[in-house]
């Protein structure tokens, strides 16, 4: 199922460029920042923009 991550194990740090709709700006997401801020994260992957649920 999952190649790199495992349930019950720490996820390796990663970062992604983002579009932030609240600020209407490009930004950055980093898992290490979430851990530092003690926040839960839900990552929601989907196939493609401009397609239909």
């Amino acid at each position: 199922m999952s190649e790199g991550v495992q349930l019950g194990r720490k996820v390796p740090d990663f970062q992604l460029n983002t579009y932030d709709p609240v600020e209407d700006k490009f930004s950055n997401f980093r898992l290490a920042d979430q851990i530092e801020r003690k926040r839960w994260t839900i990552l929601f992957f989907y196939p493609a923009d401009f397609t239909f649920v």
Binding site: G4, T18, Y19, I35, L43, F45, D49
Partner: protein
């Protein structure tokens, strides 16, 4: 609830911007839309489809310590139930505070019946749930 949702696809952040501004169904979206065009993070989570260059419908819950506590992956043709996603998040949040309790299948929200596993419960889960 102390939780940040981040969506991810292999589109670039420019496409996310364009989609957000054009699609009325996204008007209420306030969470960051992440871009993974190289598929690096998607492969890390095992959702990258090498045949199409697109991500499968995967949802992953990571706790504040960075541990993966839940995963769900659907093929393209089946949408995920958002109520279920929230239920699983709330269950994990609850259990992070009550580490000796587990949430049985009917658990929906705090206040619903949980179980405290023990030797005495082995073979007696029915009594624990009904009693």
């Amino acid at each position: 609830m102390g939780c940040d949702i981040v969506t991810v696809s292999t589109d670039t952040q420019f496409v996310h911007l364009a989609w957000k501004k054009s699609e009325g169904e996204l008007a209420e979206v306030r969470y960051p839309m992440a871009a993974d065009p190289t598929g690096k993070v998607s492969r890390l989570f095992g959702v990258y489809d090498e045949n199409t260059g697109l991500d499968l419908r995967g949802t992953f819950i990571i706790n504040p310590e960075g541990v993966l506590v839940n995963s769900e992956v659907n093929f393209y043709n089946l949408g995920r139930n958002i109520d279920e996603m929230l239920r699983k998040f709330k269950a994990n949040l609850y259990m992070s505070k009550k580490t000796n309790e587990v949430c049985p299948s009917k658990w929906k929200e705090e206040g619903d019946k949980t179980l405290v596993p023990s030797e005495a419960m082995v073979g007696r889960v029915h009594e624990a749930l009904v009693g």
